[in-house]
């Protein structure tokens, strides 16, 4: 404990003490009495507080260096991991490639049935058969009528498609005893299920499903055509396409041109046969007074709508129009 009058001297003494303390403890410890730190340049010591400051700076630098070192190690580790993973995956991929090539070669040599040298386990055989049966059942789905036996009867699945695209599927869960009855179904309410059931369900289940399938496929077909029209030709249609839930009544407007003048057409499509996806009537109306001019065109358009799928008919009419102009 020195008694100094000169503050400078006091500071020096304190500096000295803290220096010693620092050296005793080793690096990395902040000075007990942080002094005003002057700006310190590397390698230059200006004054007592400069020294402490310099120490701090070194500490910070070491700390940062430590962090950087750690980061670098982490990055290298990560890189090594990634490289190892790549090697592992490459090896697995090559192994699989070789396996598949061998398989394919065997197939070519033995014309199909592969004779497995090892006796396959019972489990392998059963697993193969299960997969094979599931694939077969998927094919039945594609044919339109599939199903599953239930405790009390059968649950049939009616699939629908329009041309090559499969659309919704519907379920009818039947009870077999004492009478054939529909327990549950997912048929939409606007399909006359009850009427069809009343007519055929008791006497001929196959006929019942066949008629129901016709109704459902036709409905889905009409809906699909309307959706396609909206999706692809909305810019050629004035306003929106109006339809009812059964999609057997469609109304929309479009414009035709004749002699460089444009005229609005209103189309009303009526699908009288619920088992058909083409309209029975295609009524085209134009503004009063213009009919004589456009009668031929209206008749041609009506004809197109009655004989071709809606989106295809419309497409051909649009293209004909454009080629005229």
């Amino acid at each position: 404990m020195e008694e100094e009058h000169n503050s400078n001297e006091k500071e020096n003494a304190l500096c000295g003490r803290s220096l010693t303390a620092a050296s005793r403890d080793g690096g990395g410890r902040m000075p007990a009495a942080p002094l005003a730190q002057g700006k310190v340049e590397r390698g230059k010591v200006y004054s007592g507080d400069g020294v402490l400051g310099y120490l701090e700076m070194l500490e910070a630098q070491a700390h940062e260096l430590g962090l950087k070192q750690e980061e670098k190690e982490q990055q290298e580790k990560k890189l090594d991991r990634l490289k190892a993973r790549v090697q592992e995956l490459r090896a697995r991929r090559d192994e699989l490639r070789a396996k598949v090539e061998l398989q394919e070669k065997r197939l070519l040599d033995k014309e199909g049935v592969m004779a497995d040298p090892a006796q396959p386990s019972a489990q392998t055989v059963l697993e193969w058969k299960v997969k094979s049966l599931k694939a077969m059942l998927q094919v039945f789905y594609l044919t339109g009528i599939s199903g599953k036996l239930t405790k009390q009867g059968v649950c049939f699945c009616i699939s629908t498609a329009y041309e090559g695209t499969y659309l919704d599927s519907y379920y009818v869960d039947l009870l077999i005893k004492p009478l054939v009855k529909i327990q549950r179904h997912s048929v939409p309410v606007f399909i006359p299920l009850e009427q069809i059931a009343k007519k055929y369900l008791q006497t001929d289940i196959r006929r019942f499903l066949s008629v129901l399938s016709d109704h459902l496929n036709a409905y889905v077909g009409r809906r699909h055509q309307a959706d396609q029209l909206e999706e692809h030709f909305s810019d050629h249609i004035d306003g929106t396409l109006q339809r009812n839930s059964l999609c057997n009544l469609l109304v929309f407007n479009y414009t035709v041109s004749s002699n460089s003048k444009t005229f609005p057409f209103n189309v009303r499509l009526l699908y009288g046969d619920l088992c058909c996806s083409l309209p029975t009537e295609a009524i085209i109306s134009c503004t009063p007074g213009t009919l004589p001019l456009l009668a031929e065109m209206a008749a041609a358009h009506s004809n197109a709508f009655r004989h071709m799928a809606l989106h295809k008919a419309f497409d051909s009419l649009i293209n004909a129009k454009e080629s005229q102009n």
Binding site: L79, Q123, V125, L133, M136, T143, T165
Partner: protein, 287 residues
């Protein structure tokens, strides 16, 4: 170190993982497709599996899921075959493309629909959407043994054009059922009136001949054709062809000329079976 170095490795890892998935799926598909176990082998394996399981677990433990699943699927399939009349005798599929959420498989299928043999190939494209899987058929190619069913060719080419596999099966089923109905009807009448009814082309033929043994030279031929239009709708078309000896022709020309028309009205009024029955009874009575 910037991220681009990692990116190169990470990209390769992703590519490799995808490739591995594709290859292992392909390996399993080929394995599945190229293996074949007969029904006897399957049955033996079921017994073996059950025995192995019992030995291991002494009867306790979880149920034999695999065996139960197999039997349930077999029951479902045999029911469907019996119910729809569609029997698939061979089916093979091959995965052509499997990327991201798209799968393209090539299927080869042959079997019978009632007694009509068919053979077809198609490609099935499946795309995984958010909610469901959408499926579409492309490149549909159908081969039907025409033979007696030459009327099917237009319907078949239309189905190939549209790629509508579903409608092909629905309509083929309906056509086959009509043929089956015709066969049963012919057999029924042959059994009921063996002296009068003959089936010159057998039960698969499209006509029967009614003859009264006491009136030689006088025959009624009922022709029953199945017309199937391009859309696939089957319509039975029946007609009557009388064969009459020269002298009778001069006497009863009017009634003989009228006969086909009468038969058609009977068909409309009473249906096929009753109309044919009436005709048989008339032939039986004729003196």
């Amino acid at each position: 170190m910037d991220n681009s170095v990692y990116q190169v490795y990470e990209d390769e890892i992703q590519l490799l993982e995808e490739e591995i998935k594709l290859l292992s799926d392909k390996y399993e598909d080929i394995q599945q497709e190229s293996t074949f176990f007969s029904d006897e082998e399957v049955l033996m394996s079921v017994k073996l599996f059950q025995r192995e399981f019992l030995e291991e677990h002494k009867g306790h433990g979880p149920p034999l899921d695999l065996k139960a699943e197999l039997e349930s699927l077999q029951r479902d399939l045999s029911f469907l075959v019996k119910f729809t009349g569609i029997q698939i005798t061979s089916h093979s599929k091959k995965t052509l493309e499997k990327t991201g959420n798209r799968t393209v498989q090539k299927h080869r299928l042959s079997g019978n629909c009632q007694s009509l043999p068919f053979s077809l190939e198609f490609q099935l494209l499946e795309v995984q959407n958010k909610e469901n899987v959408s499926a579409a058929i492309t490149d549909l190619s159908i081969a039907i043994e025409s033979g007696q069913h030459s009327e099917l060719s237009k319907f078949v080419s239309r189905a190939e054009e549209n790629g509508n596999l579903l409608m092909f099966f629905r309509n083929l089923s309906s056509y086959a059922e009509w043929c089956e109905h015709r066969r049963c009807t012919f057999l029924h009448f042959k059994a009921k009136y063996p002296n009068i009814v003959t089936l010159p082309e057998g039960q698969e033929g499209d006509h029967i001949i009614l003859r009264n043994p006491q009136l030689p030279g006088f025959e009624l031929m009922i022709v029953w054709k199945m017309h199937i239009d391009e859309e696939g709708t089957t319509t039975p078309v029946l007609d009557l062809l009388p064969k009459v000896p020269q002298q009778a022709l001069e006497q009863k020309k009017a009634s003989i000329d009228n006969a086909p028309a009468c038969f058609r009205s009977m068909l409309l009024l009473f249906g096929i079976e009753t109309a044919i029955e009436n005709l048989i009874q008339v032939v039986g009575l004729e003196k």
